[in-house]
């Protein structure tokens, strides 16, 4: 797998830290809206073991309009600063807009994380032109920044998700994105209710079996909240449990708020899977 300038082993499990330059995202509620605060968070997550930062300038839920100019203004400067300060770090930008993609790639972004499933069909061309990686998500074709409302699928949900992400991956390939730079993502909760998201999660191995690397974005989402009946500030345990299961089923990239905790879970699962030696084994062995 290659994410822009960075190449990773086939069994690497990567932590992608969420960095929001938004005043209103559901979890951090504007804590890193100021560019300096966002930069501080980048420094922190690097220290905690993040492989990737995912910089976003527009919250996913409905809310105040953020036009292209405003989104560019929020993210491009930060991308350039991170590129300068942390050359070893993969820089991803969470955007669905080709114009924004163009600007951030020029500033050093390695990955375009299209959380809205190809709403702007020109985004793949931008990724191809800059040799950037692209995250191909499934949203069922919904408008960006809308909530699911009575969304139903009259066909197997995993078949629907696979059609969406594989179709997107093929479009990216056809546009010229490198094969090793295409990642698929079922997009937990996007265009899906909690039942849908749970079904996709428990069958994540079917996505892994396609051969494309799988990204999961689980962190503190509503499906965790609705499953455990917990408000947004009490969803870490549910998130980590889902992270462990997803890792066991073969997901490769974890888009998260809590980096250190996720890293530990992934290390533990990697060891359980036999892909990582224990850190220190002396008990009964001395």
């Amino acid at each position: 797998m290659r994410l822009g300038r960075h190449t990773f082993a086939d069994d690497a499990m990567l932590v992608m830290a969420i960095v929001n330059r938004t005043p209103d995202s559901f979890y951090d509620k504007g804590a890193t809206f100021a560019e300096d605060k966002a930069m501080e968070r980048v420094d922190l997550v690097v220290e905690q073991g993040a492989d990737i930062v995912d910089i976003g300038g527009v919250k996913a839920a409905p809310g105040g309009e953020v036009d292209v100019a405003e989104e560019v203004d929020r993210v491009v400067g930060l991308v350039a600063r991170v590129h300068e300060a942390h050359p070893q770090l993969v820089i991803s930008v969470d955007t669905w807009r080709a114009e924004v993609g163009e600007a951030v790639c020029a500033a050093g972004a390695d990955v375009l994380n299209d959380a809205w499933g190809g709403a702007d069909p020109a985004l793949v061309d931008v990724a191809a032109r800059h040799d950037a990686a692209i995250i191909c998500t499934h949203t069922g074709g919904v408008e960006p920044r809308t909530r699911p409302f009575r969304t139903g699928f009259d066909r197997d949900i995993m078949a629907e998700v696979l059609d969406g992400v594989l179709g997107y991956a093929e479009r990216a390939l056809a546009a010229g994105v490198a094969r090793e730079s295409i990642v698929i993502d079922p997009a937990h909760d996007f265009g899906k209710n909690t039942h849908h998201t749970l079904e996709v999660t428990r069958r994540l191995d079917e996505m892994v079996d396609t051969g494309w690397p799988v990204l999961v974005s689980l962190s503190n989402k509503d499906f965790v909240g609705e499953t455990l009946d917990k408000p947004v500030d009490q969803r870490l345990i549910g998130t980590l449990a889902t992270t462990a299961v997803s890792a066991w089923l073969g997901a490769r990239i974890y888009r998260v708020h809590e980096v250190a905790e996720t890293r530990q879970v992934l290390d533990m699962v990697a060891t359980l899977r036999g892909e990582r030696p224990p850190a220190r084994t002396i008990r009964g062995l001395a």
Binding site: G63, T146, R150, G152, D154, A159, T194, H195, E199, E226
Partner: protein, 220 residues
């Protein structure tokens, strides 16, 4: 004879068994709707119950058509499964005795097409019409369709129309406005307007716990 009574019930998928999870947040609403339909059918002594709800197309459905609730879980929906709104209506229909008719109206049906179907459904034996429809889903910041400032006054007018049995008001609902306010029950309400003129309206309850207006109304 004709439509001698009508009941308006909500259309939330979470009313279907199992969809709302262990807490079953709409259990109370489900029970009140079931009671209202039953009481109205018994009181009016109807011989036919007609369910009308929005769906992909306008057609009748076998009364034993399979459930489509899996569209909200695994997506493994059997062929010929009911549209959700019609399935919700079937759940509320009294069991045993009398004829049951299940009918969907296309979500994009024009007011004229709705009126035409309403007149056709009215032509029959003593009938209770179960109309499955909600008000707007844009009543709060956290509502499915986010907040639209005109949703609240719109919802108020809708509640008033149901309370008054105001068929012209329902017939006049503008499809584009309803779509903008995420109000998917518009066609079913416009079928009701044409099928049940001259009945006395009563708004039994109105609530919007999740930013979607749920109405229970009885027309007799």
């Amino acid at each position: 004879m004709s439509v001698v009574a009508a009941v308006v019930v909500p259309a939330a998928p979470a009313l279907l068994p199992g969809i709302g999870g262990a807490a079953d947040p709409l259990a109370d609403l489900r029970e009140r709707a079931r009671q209202l339909v039953l009481e109205t059918a018994v009181t009016k002594g109807v011989t036919r119950v007609v369910v009308i709800g929005a769906g992909e197309s306008t057609r009748t459905w076998p009364t034993d058509a399979p459930s489509g609730a899996a569209r909200f879980t695994t997506g493994r929906v059997p062929d010929g499964a009911l549209p959700t709104d019609v399935e919700i209506g079937r759940m509320f229909a009294p069991s045993g005795g009398g004829e049951l008719v299940l009918h969907s109206i296309a979500s994009d049906a024009t007011p004229q097409e709705c009126a035409q179907l309403g007149r056709e459904l009215a032509d029959g034996p003593s009938t209770l019409l179960v109309c499955v429809a909600d008000g707007p889903a844009t009543l709060t910041d956290k509502a499915p369709g986010h907040l639209q400032l005109d949703a609240a006054p719109f919802a108020l007018e809708l509640a008033d129309a149901l309370a008054a049995g105001d068929t012209p008001a329902l017939a006049a609902l503008d499809p584009a406005t309803c779509e903008r306010l995420w109000m998917r029950g518009r066609p079913a309400l416009q079928v009701l307007a044409a099928a049940a003129p001259g009945l006395r309206g009563e708004l039994v309850s109105e609530e919007a716990p999740f930013g979607v207006q749920y109405l229970l109304a009885r027309w007799v």
